[in-house]
């Protein structure tokens, strides 16, 4: 009886896993006053994490206001991408620093 119940639970869990692929975490490294390359493919639900390897305080500030992370020198911060689209972002302290994330469904 118990083994039947377990089988049912396992089946349900594996169905869920199959329906929603696990969310991934991607990194963008900031160095020498520039955002590093963006991940090629980001899906809704994935996390983008900025790692500030620079000497200076930076931010990752989305032009559509969907995120605004303050990134201490040698610090990091991440955000879950909630909708598909092209998101442009800058450093609000050094507006010459620009980046872009393409999020797919």
């Amino acid at each position: 009886m118990r083994s039947l119940w377990l089988t049912a639970v396992l089946a349900a869990v594996s169905a869920l896993v199959a329906a929603a692929p696990p969310a991934k975490v991607y990194q963008v490294v900031i160095d020498n006053l520039a955002f590093g390359p963006a991940p090629a493919v980001v899906h809704v639900g994935d996390t983008v994490r900025w790692v500030n390897d620079d000497l200076f305080l930076h931010s990752a500030t989305a032009s559509d206001h969907s995120f605004d992370l303050t990134l201490q020198p040698k610090g990091s911060g991440g955000v879950v991408m909630k909708r598909a689209g092209v998101i442009s972002y800058i450093c609000r302290y050094h507006p010459g620093m620009k980046g872009q994330i393409v999020v797919r469904k």
């Binding site: 020498n32 006053l33 000497l55 305080l57 020198p73 050094h94 507006p95 010459g96 620093m97």
Partner: protein, 175 residues
């Protein structure tokens, strides 16, 4: 000779308009270059601290805070580098002239208030960063011998160019 003329010209173009003698000597050595770069940062931090005392404009204050933070970060790195290289920064006529001109500017701006002060501070930030960037690109970076010092000066140039652009945006918004 050309390089000597170009740094003299760049520095003479400073908004403060103070002419100073540049002795016809050899190009600056690394100890002098480190001193000039450090001094340039100290001057901008002093100007920003004056702005934080005097200005009530949130954008001007945010810019001044950025100047304090960024120039301190570069200068801390420069200090760590000269210690690592066992180099003692060497005072020189360029550093002295920069400091004298900056002190005059601080004294002149001390009597200004409100919008007039904000405009004077931000316009001088545009001119000052332009001058320092010119000196970095034409003289200090090419003359630096040590690769790590040269790399730090290049980072400084990239940063100060962003500061110049930011100051230009801010100056336009104050008009």
């Amino acid at each position: 000779m050309f390089r000597k003329l170009s740094i003299a010209a760049a520095l003479a173009a400073a908004s403060v308009g103070v002419a100073f003698a540049q002795p016809a000597a050899a190009p600056p050595n690394d100890a002098q270059i480190a001193h000039i770069a450090y001094t340039a940062g100290v001057i901008d931090i002093a100007a920003a601290n004056q702005a934080l005392q005097k200005s009530t404009n949130p954008q001007v204050r945010a810019f001044a805070e950025e100047m304090v933070r960024d120039h301190k970060a570069v200068n801390d790195k420069a200090l760590a580098l000269v210690q690592q290289l066992h180099v003692t920064p060497q005072d020189n006529p360029t550093s002295q002239a920069l400091t004298a001109a900056a002190n005059q500017k601080l004294a002149a701006d001390a009597s200004l208030t409100g919008h007039a002060y904000d405009v004077a501070y931000v316009e001088n930030e545009v001119a000052y960063h332009k001058t320092v960037n010119g000196a970095l690109a034409s003289t200090l970076i090419p003359d630096a011998q040590n690769a790590q010092l040269k790399a730090l000066l290049q980072t400084g140039l990239k940063l100060f160019q962003m500061h110049q652009a930011h100051a230009e945006q801010l100056a336009a918004s104050l008009k």
